[in-house]
Symmetry: C2
Subunit: 249 residues, 2 copies
């Protein structure tokens, strides 16, 4: 492990919260500000950070560039785009695309709701494994032993009255999701929002990603949400076809 690099990455983390001064950064990372200055200079040379004014540093444009280039590489994202956009236009609600990457579920694309009440989320954000529709879909795609492994590693933080808080309940839910072909988040993550999610499959039928529609409860009750499932599945299948999947068989 490289010490200076490690420190520099910690700085970037701190800067993600918003612009910071040299001193703030030094304190946060527990290093001398001289060191911070040197690291920032290097980061600045690579456009990873930029100076806001004389004393504030903020994240630089190289980050946007890198991140979006990397996102562009994820083929699912590009292939699924038309189907998801259509679903977004059809329903008017927030549509997410998420994938499982190295032990976590990450949003890789997002289509905003047309309504004013919206879910807060962000591309790049990690989705909680136990209380989001996308995560349930992705984990339900794993073989039984792997599901258990994941279920065992989760911290079942209660976020609402409906949040699943035990591994047993989670595993049962996953089985139901796999059976049904779609997942529901019945206000398990946030009180005022519920979601439905479905898998996007690749050539060999493997699950590449998950699509979800998130709706504020004031706009649509539970039955109304479930009524969106056919549209959701249609969109997910369309995205799957774009990823090389062939129906039936």
């Amino acid at each position: 492990m490289s010490q200076s690099l490690d420190r520099a990455l910690t700085l970037l983390d701190a800067l993600a919260e918003g612009p910071r001064t040299l001193d703030q950064l030094a304190e946060h990372a527990h290093v001398h500000k001289t060191t911070v200055l040197r690291l920032l200079r290097t980061l600045e040379a690579h456009r990873f950070v930029q100076r806001d004014d004389a004393r504030h540093y903020r994240l630089g444009t190289a980050l946007f560039d890198l991140a979006n280039r990397a996102l562009d590489d994820r083929d699912v994202r590009r292939a699924a785009e038309p189907a998801l956009r259509e679903l977004n236009e059809l329903t008017g609600h927030t549509v997410h695309l998420a994938s499982y990457e190295g032990g976590e579920v990450v949003y890789i694309d997002k289509y905003e709701s047309r309504h004013h009440v919206r879910m807060y989320s962000r591309v790049g954000k990690r989705a909680a494994l136990h209380c989001t529709a996308v995560a349930k879909v992705l984990v339900a795609a794993f073989p039984e032993p792997r599901r258990r492994e994941v279920a065992g590693s989760i911290e079942y933080t209660r976020l609402t009255a409906n949040t699943i808080t035990t591994a047993e309940a989670y595993l049962a839910e996953l089985a139901a999701v796999a059976e049904r072909g779609y997942a529901v988040d019945d206000s398990e993550h946030e009180d005022f929002i519920h979601c439905v999610g479905a898998p996007v499959r690749g050539q060999r039928g493997e699950v590449l990603a998950a699509v979800s529609v998130s709706v504020p409860k004031i706009l649509l009750d539970y039955d109304g949400l479930l009524a969106l499932v056919p549209d959701l599945l249609r969109a997910a299948d369309k995205a799957s076809v774009a990823c090389g999947w062939t129906p039936d068989r």
Copy 2:
């Protein structure tokens, strides 16, 4: 300047091109592969890179997270969103939001075209200063001496028959843009695409960002493009209002 950090950032740059192996990275950065390994391990611990398979590394999810968190902070982006989305739905064409950051023009948001023929671009990408509508808008907002400075520093790479290739012509164009209140890219960047751009203003009338609409020539001829200007200006003004700008006065 920190050597190890510098090298690590170079690695990230290389990885932006797509997944790479240890050896490829070592060669690219002109360092021993042991060194690369150590740096990658640190980067991996911070989720800046992730292993694809046994031998390939790719950019990790922390990057998406950081970048989108930082983008979220840019108030213009959030404030301008409804107006731009509306413009995108109204015209059906690609809408970009760009801002001037430390000597370069960067796309900070994008709304995809409904059509199949599209412009290739990406959030985080840098826009050429001499042949894009957004850059012209942003540079035209500078006072005369600063415009000269920028004009002098540009490499006027010819990309199409219409590309502006001299500082004099560029300065004249900027004057016209400032006068008119909008900019045109008459296939100066790519043969088959032309754009119009306009400024988004803040509280004190200062230019915060630039909006543009990009259209393939086969879908709309030059007159058709210019016919979009009123809609563009309306959207830009609406975005400006959302940023605290007050019309007239």
